[in-house]
Symmetry: C2
Subunit: 360 residues, 2 copies
Amino acid sequence: MKIAQVSPLMESCPPQLYGGTERVVSYLTEELVRQGHEVTLFASGDSQTGATLRAACDRALRLDPECKDPLPHYLVLLNQVARTADLFDIVHFHADYLHFPLFAPRWSKTLTTTHGRMDLPDYAPLFREFPMMPLVSISDAQRLPMPSANWCGTVYHGLPSDLYTPGLGNGGYLAFIGRISPEKGPDKAVEIARRAGVPLKIAAKVDKVDLEYYNGKIKRLLKTPGVEFIGEIGESEKREFLRNAAALLFPIDWPEPFGLVVIEAMANGTPVVALRRGAVPEVVEDGVTGLVVDTVDEAVAAVPKALSLDRSAVRRRFEQRFTVERMAGDYIALYGEVLRRGSMNAVVSGGRASNQRGAA
Amino acid sequence: MKIAQVSPLMESCPPQLYGGTERVVSYLTEELVRQGHEVTLFASGDSQTGATLRAACDRALRLDPECKDPLPHYLVLLNQVARTADLFDIVHFHADYLHFPLFAPRWSKTLTTTHGRMDLPDYAPLFREFPMMPLVSISDAQRLPMPSANWCGTVYHGLPSDLYTPGLGNGGYLAFIGRISPEKGPDKAVEIARRAGVPLKIAAKVDKVDLEYYNGKIKRLLKTPGVEFIGEIGESEKREFLRNAAALLFPIDWPEPFGLVVIEAMANGTPVVALRRGAVPEVVEDGVTGLVVDTVDEAVAAVPKALSLDRSAVRRRFEQRFTVERMAGDYIALYGEVLRRGSMNAVVSGGRASNQRGAA
């Protein structure tokens, strides 16, 4: 197939440091190339890919000190995609919803993966206005606030099987990785580790928007004995960080739509202690790949249980459920499904429907 | 003419409180209606207009506690405009650049007024990608960072002549009105008033993004003897506030693209003491409608001179230069100009150019 992947521009594909969506887009893109598809990747110019790269900006916007407003770059991106859309069988969008007005008349050659939370009230009118746009959720839980949107399927994220190999988890610490923000629960991670009596290492970035939270609430917690803050880490450091961790703490306080770091931990054989929010019960199999708990108290009690889980079984479940081959296969199936819907629609309506915008 | 006006959605048209762009869109819309044009206003649902109102959202987004992310509402707005674009001779956009990809193939029936600052580096690639979009600046100074963009003209803002009547300016105070943000210079206003020995009244809103600046730098200055902070005010309070002011202080520290409050003051006969930044020298006639100065020291010295200016001359210059009739006339001329360019383009290229996107 001729496939366009449209990535966010905040990070490169793959990201140099943190960045979930661009990482997934990168894995998917490279796997589609490996499977022999003709793939064009629309992404920041510092991306690395085996696909044809179309760059809307020179550098990942988050790391570009010149970038004050990302939006203009996304408009350039959209125009690049629109100008070349005829060259592709399918255009797969990963960068929110900015393309909806532009691609509504061509919905039947698009697929949009919703990578973020869906529980903002602002989204209801958006999905009402664009009922034709085919959507993919990254967990079933992600759909809950917007059950009647045009969902075509759920595709869990996947990682290259050889990206990580099972580690021994003998570093003697619990791991926390992500952003320092209230919804990721770094404060809870500190409490759980402290009360469980196991050292904690925190690998995390602090976004500008979270500086107040970091300075006001988290900075002093990082002085807790046994807690070490190692800042934002790149891919190679993350490998060591995760494979040596006894367990990952995932004490989220928001409807996490997937939780990429959870399957990254699993790929290293590292079990997860996670709060039951969002996609957690779908991704973590309680008692097999980790422990799913409802409170901080339960999380403290779950730590020793997590440490006793069979790390090779954790890795095995990763290989069964969360590889990039499985993810790419799921998406290829959905591309076919969207194209079939589009052509059926064209037959039924004599081609008019494929050009129609949402009804007034 | 059949004219669509596309307003931002942050405030209603007109705004209930602060809000420059929506205020200008509202004045323009009502004047075009008065002149007999068929006008459709795309704006928030709580807008008041004699035009046909198309509402993309129920309420002005800034005042809607439910609104966390304005962008989805703008996508709904864009789709509403796109679906009905054939009904209009011209579509006049006032809400940034989000419509560029969607309307690039139909540029010849659009006009975009740039209401904000143009000096972000992010705009250069945007205007390179969309060289066909016809633009209007709100001052010549606004164009400086982007001289090669597709400027069709400069149209200064205008106000209904009867919105304000000349006041006596005998309230015994200097006025500051706007946002509490570093670029508006509230700190300088306090210093100028204090050193000039004239009381100062500050009517201003504090945006979330400016809270740190307000708490850290401004709050304590507001305790300066002679300084009174009256918060955000509505239209009727603004009238009294401006007509009773001895002069307006406009000590901006950014390339202000226009400065609506300056002509609001002039409409009340109130002279302005302004720092020479952005559009100030175009809008304020030094020695006639106010004093244009380069430093705070000069501003202090200018205050007594401003108080001695002839307030009826200030009002007279407003009537000559900044009424809504003049603004609407300028825009009508530019609508005609864009339509002529579009049809010439269509003749020259056999219609292809009018559908073309920017070259690759």
